[in-house]
């Protein structure tokens, strides 16, 4: 009798080894988590919206009010993300490079917006910026309306997204090679030339990542905006608020349709940012 030839026995040793133990198990847990936490809910969302049919989808998701809400959401989030990433760069630089009393306390305060319920932030901001509020009593006569306005939306979005922008850039600034700055100075570069030509290219990828995170955070924010924006349709209503108001009308399919559009916008923006970021990283190495 002919037995199985040795060569047909699967050679287990030939399998590629990885450094990490329990690769199979950890891979399984990872995929399960991603599927369970992200893929399934998103699939349900899209299926639910698809049940409307193309015409129904458009009728629900592309109404003038919804389009206005997308515009407010995108505009405010982009503005807030730009402000956050620039401000974040500055704050991170100060926290890393400057020695001053209270630096550690300031460093700890950076994370507060992450821990605070954002609704609280929204309430506090609106109390501050209304006409009779601490800041509003001075600002409103000057024509600066911080509450019930798009400016207010941007303000709270900066508040909730700033920690991301700071925390992403901070370790990169810490790891900067100070020798290169000294080298640039010795070669005759001014301070601004040193920053723009030597320092910035090294931290720009991190700034862009911070921008992407801040943008993603801002697009999905609901709790704080709902208290400060006044939620006036066509003016200060953002897409997440519109979704909730559709839900309150029990128009679930319409709500999911709007959510799908919002999701599509966020995803495409994040993809664009990612591509840009990768290009910068490749350039920086």
């Amino acid at each position: 009798m002919n037995t199985t030839s040795p060569s047909s026995i699967p050679n287990r040793r030939a399998r590629q080894r990885t450094v990490l133990p329990g690769f199979g198990l950890s891979a399984a847990i990872t995929s399960l988590m991603i599927v369970g936490l992200v893929v399934i809910p998103l699939a349900v969302l899209i299926l639910r919206a698809a049940s409307l049919g193309p015409a129904g989808f458009l009728a629900a998701a592309w109404t003038p009010r919804a389009r206005a809400a997308y515009a407010v959401s995108l505009g405010a989030s982009l503005t807030a993300a730009i402000i956050s990433s620039l401000l974040g760069l500055l704050v991170a630089w100060v926290l890393v490079r400057l020695e001053f009393p209270g630096r550690r306390i300031l460093d700890a305060l950076v994370d507060v917006p992450l821990a605070l319920p954002t609704a609280v932030a929204g309430l506090v901001y609106s109390t501050l910026y209304v006409e009779k509020g601490w800041l509003g009593q001075w600002l409103v006569p000057m024509g600066i309306r911080g509450a019930y306005s798009r400016l207010g939306i941007v303000l709270v979005l900066v508040f909730v997204s700033l920690p991301f922008a700071i925390r992403v850039v901070q370790p990169v600034i810490e790891s900067l090679d100070k020798d290169t700055e000294e080298a640039a100075r010795l070669l005759g570069a001014s301070k601004s030339q040193t920053f723009l030509r030597v320092v910035l290219p090294g931290i720009l990828p991190a700034v862009v990542t911070g921008f992407a995170l801040a943008l993603a955070r801002a697009l999905g924010e609901y709790g704080s905006v709902v208290f400060i924006s006044g939620n006036m349709p066509f003016k200060t209503e953002i897409a997440p608020v519109l979704i909730v108001s559709r839900l309150e009308e029990f128009a679930y399919a319409e709500a999911t349709a709007i959510a799908v559009v919002l999701l599509g916008m966020s995803l495409s923006m994040l993809i664009v940012v990612n591509v840009l970021q990768q290009r910068l990283v490749r350039n920086a190495q």
Partner: protein, 362 residues
């Protein structure tokens, strides 16, 4: 361009990095600052470059006081230990940087960079990123970058410290030739005495923020001025002995030491370099001794270790304990073929004796 460092001091907190250091570097000299870490050699280099401010003292270039001049106005070429290349720029742009910020015309930059890349033997690599180069190539880019601004002096901070042994030797020979060609006043910092002696016209040995000794490599090596220099140059046998009546005693072996004619004995340290010792098989009992036994130390062979062309024989003196290294050319050691446990006599050809500082002696 000559450099004069005049009474420079610098402290970091309570740590005194430089303590009233003065130093002259004549035009065209290649000078090594040699010392252990924390000796202040890098701080001194950085002060010359304008990267640190001295707490006191002055820096002069050709007699002109430049103490208050910023790094960017000093026109020094500086090479860092870890290259400090601009990672996001190509090799070409790295070298061109100094000329770009000076807004020099593009054709001039192009020809100068090409000339420099040729000088550092990196022709055709201008388009690479630093990450695509080896350590030795990166350091040559750093050198080309430093030379691009036509500096008046060249300063190098442990320039070969991050390179592996072979590249290090090649690169320092090459740097020596380059210096001979362009003749620029050059100061480099190193903790590697071999590097300092091979490369430099003059060596300055530093310790605890002070200059211990300055001289030509041969002078420093043959006539160490202080016990520290002797110790630091390394590879030395140190014994505690005593001096009296114009003689030093090392394990009972007398050595002429006319500097101390007094009768009162004083403790002293005796330094013997392993390659300045003669070793011979001890004469069998009754036979005439091979060398004059009066000046020889009887010892026992412990072991032999070969490091390339040199074989080190470690011995133990019969009296007094301790270990003593004797270096012989490997061929000679092979001929003698000592076995562990064999009796030998060791005769110093040259001995240095240092007395402890008199101020510490009551």
């Amino acid at each position: 361009m000559s450099i004069r460092v005049n009474g420079v001091s610098k402290s970091f907190g309570t740590f005194k990095a430089l303590d009233n250091v003065s130093l002259d570097v004549p035009q065209g000299t290649l000078l090594a600052l040699l010392g252990p870490s924390g000796s202040g050699k890098t701080t001194l280099l950085r002060i010359i470059a304008g990267l640190e401010w001295p707490d006191g003292g002055r820096i002069e270039e050709d007699g002109e006081d430049i103490t208050d001049r910023h790094a960017r106005q000093r026109e020094v070429g500086f090479v860092f230990q870890h290259y400090a290349l601009f990672r996001h720029m190509s090799v070409f742009e790295n070298v061109a940087f100094g000329m770009r910020v000076r807004k020099e015309p593009a054709e001039k930059i192009k020809s100068r960079v090409d000339e420099l890349l040729h000088l550092v033997r990196l022709d055709g690599l201008g388009g690479r990123k630093p990450s695509q180069l080896s350590g030795g190539q990166r350091q040559r880019v750093a050198l080309a970058r430093a030379l691009a601004i036509r500096p008046r002096i060249l300063l190098l901070d442990e320039p070969f410290g991050a390179l592996d042994a072979k590249v290090r030797v090649e690169l320092r020979q090459w740097l020596r030739r380059l210096h001979d060609e362009i003749g620029m006043t050059t100061v480099f910092v190193t903790h590697d005495q071999e590097e300092a002696f091979e490369l430099a016209d003059e060596v300055v040995v530093m310790n605890h923020g002070r200059v211990e000794q300055r001289g030509k490599p041969d002078e420093v090596f043959d006539k160490p001025a202080t016990p520290f220099v002797m110790d630091f140059l390394g590879n030395v046998n140190v014994f505690h002995g005593r001096v009296e009546n114009g003689r030093a005693f090392w394990h009972g072996v007398p050595i002429a030491y006319p500097d101390y004619p007094h009768a009162q004995p004083r403790p002293a340290r005796v330094y013997l370099r392993p390659h300045e010792l003669d070793i011979a098989r001890a004469a069998p009992a009754g036979a005439a001794p091979a060398i004059e036994s009066e000046k020889s130390l009887p010892a026992t062979v412990l072991r032999q270790t070969r490091t390339g062309p040199i074989t080190r024989i470690t011995c133990q003196p019969l009296e007094g304990g301790g270990e003593l290294n004797v270096d012989l050319p490997t061929a000679a050691a092979r001929e003698l073929a000592f076995l562990p446990g064999e009796r030998v006599t060791i005769t110093p050809r040259s001995v240095r004796v240092f007395l402890p500082d008199p101020e510490y002696v009551i």
